[in-house]
């Protein structure tokens, strides 16, 4: 069984290693295609691979390529190399391409895959179902499938090898779906941030939004939000963390006034440390956190800003952390 691993969206070495770990968990014949418009112009590009890649490509794009153009290249690579299994990383573009590809080929698709192994001629993939409340294990035949691997995939750590990828041009087609233009949006680097401040409805209700954003800036953190803040038009969807928003895996996630719905928890479960500040001691967010502080954000946030702005700030960087 030959597997094509496809990484789209903003390139991340860690995410690509997770994708490749998943691929090598079920096959030794692994190919890799990377598409990120920011890296496609670089003269040379290499990745760290946890196994021996058969071949790897950076998909070089012309301006305004559509998801359909990328899908066609993926299909061409599959036909040329006798590939019948596809693993995508967890990005909006991957979801787009993967679902259409699976439908066209009429092969099974399983998304949000957290675990993967092979058992005879079947592949077993574990994913969360029922709003993340249950983990289900799906069995698919090994002769053709599409998986979307969730961020934080639990793979075996192996010594990574550096592999230089070759270049492959994507041509813009006049196909079914054509991109006419593209406008830059506000950039957030939620997926790559070491620390993320999560802004919940409690921040809005306590009127401390400005202070929460200021805290993020002073800490050098990114900030994201829960779904209700996007629905209320307070923040852009680019910053939404959750099941259909961004899934993040920072070293520290500081949740401010977040109740902790399953929808939101699905986006932060791969965080290394979760700290919650919430007025309600029994909130699900506090229960899911490593550490929690019970308090009113109207009191706590000014205090945090005061400490960071004070001359004792340096002490924080040298003190033991737990």
């Amino acid at each position: 069984m030959k597997v094509l691993a496809v990484a789209t969206g903003k390139y991340s070495s860690r995410r690509t290693q997770e994708l490749l770990s998943a691929s090598f968990a079920i096959s030794s014949d692994v190919f890799l295609a990377v598409f990120d418009s920011e890296i496609s112009g670089k003269a040379s590009f290499s990745v760290e691979s946890p196994g021996d890649l058969k071949e790897g490509w950076v998909l070089e794009s012309e301006p305004l390529v559509s998801p359909y153009d990328i899908k066609e290249v993926v299909k061409e690579l599959a036909t040329k190399n006798g590939i019948n299994a596809f693993l995508f990383n967890d990005s909006p573009l991957s979801f787009w391409i993967a679902s259409v590809l699976a439908g066209e080929l009429r092969i099974p698709i399983v998304t949000d895959v957290l675990r993967l192994y092979r058992e005879g001629d079947r592949i077993l993939a574990t994913k969360p179902i029922n709003m993340e409340s249950v983990w289900g294990e799906y069995s698919v035949p090994s002769d053709g499938f599409v998986f979307v691997i969730r961020r934080g995939f639990i793979g075996k750590r192996k010594n990574a090898k550096e592999v230089v990828l070759s270049r492959l041009k994507i041509k813009r087609s006049d196909g079914q779906v054509t991109v006419l233009n593209e406008s830059k949006k506000e950039e957030s680097r939620l997926e790559d941030a070491l620390m993320v401040i999560g802004i919940g409805d409690g921040v809005r209700q306590s009127g401390t939004l400005e202070a929460a954003i200021k805290l993020a800036k002073l800490l050098g953190a990114e900030y994201g939000c829960t779904k209700p803040l996007v629905e209320a038009g307070i923040m852009n969807r680019e910053r939404m963390i959750g099941l259909s928003g961004k899934r993040i895996s920072p070293k520290v996630y500081l949740a401010l006034g977040i109740s902790g719905s399953n929808y939101h928890l699905a986006g932060i479960s791969s965080s290394e440390v979760i700290i919650s500040i919430n007025i309600d001691k029994g909130s699900p967010m506090n229960r899911q956190a490593d550490f929690f502080l019970v308090g009113d954000l109207k009191d706590v946030l000014p205090k945090l800003l005061e400490i960071i702005g004070s001359e004792h700030k340096a002490d924080l960087f040298s003190a033991p952390n737990d």
Partner: protein, 234 residues
């Protein structure tokens, strides 16, 4: 094909109500109907006991016609392939040039049903739709938000999946509910699902790391933990 919009909504197997996320899918479809002047058809696969309730829920939210496919099978039992196969037949029956799916609600959180159906049928597919500009001849122009916002032109027929958060549902008035009672849906027995190709073999509690849940008492401690952890291995 006809100038109509077919929108799929998920009906809860517990209480026969429309899934909360699909209220936004319906709102998007309703705005699209108002913009294009096309007929809006609501489609749902429901347990037999919820046929009437489902049709009233859908009619109360501004659809012109409702196609209710009832089944005795557990709707959640199907995989993407079997669910998509059933929906494909509904799309073919209605003959609509635009088909709308919700982001994650209609397919037990796989997030890919719309694309799969589009792939099966050879329809164009646009996900993450933020705005539809209109239709001209055999094409549709829309904006979608990926890393950036893009404007796309798609050949019709097309499957669209809107960004739910951008289309908060309008309130349902008592008058809408009264009107809904007078309307008659087309009911059809969907029978069993096509055989699945991805089989759910086990289900259990999530294996999540148990976190400490340790209470800390001061804002200083919050910063000490946060900054200390980020500094580790940096």
């Amino acid at each position: 094909m006809d100038n109509c919009i077919l929108t799929f909504v998920k009906i809860s197997e517990q209480d026969g109500k429309i899934d909360e996320q699909d209220l936004s899918t319906l709102e998007f479809s309703r705005r699209l109907k108002e913009k294009l002047g096309w007929k809006l058809i609501g489609g749902a696969i429901v347990r037999e006991s919820f046929e009437t309730q489902a049709s009233r829920e859908i009619f109360a939210r501004g659809v012109d016609e409702a196609f209710i496919f009832s089944t005795n099978s557990n709707v959640g039992e199907g995989d993407i392939y079997s669910t998509a196969s059933t929906m494909r037949s509904i799309v073919e029956d209605t003959g609509c040039r635009i088909v709308v799916f919700g982001e994650r609600s209609s397919d037990t959180s796989f997030g890919c049903l719309g694309g799969y159906v589009a792939g099966m049928l050879g329809f164009s597919y646009i996900a993450y739709v933020s705005e539809v500009w209109g239709c001209e001849g055999s094409t549709l122009k829309a904006n979608a938000i990926l890393e950036n916002e893009i404007t796309l032109e798609a050949k019709l027929p097309a499957v669209l999946v809107p960004i739910g958060e951008l289309f908060p549902p309008r309130p349902v008035l008592l008058r809408d509910r009264m009107e809904a009672k007078k309307k008659q849906a087309a009911f059809k027995k969907a029978g069993g699902f096509v055989k699945t190709i991805a089989t759910l073999v086990r289900a259990g509690k999530p294996e999540q790391r148990t976190r400490g849940g340790q209470e800390i008492k001061s804002p200083e401690e919050v910063l000490r933990v946060a900054i200390g952890r980020v500094g580790e291995g940096a």
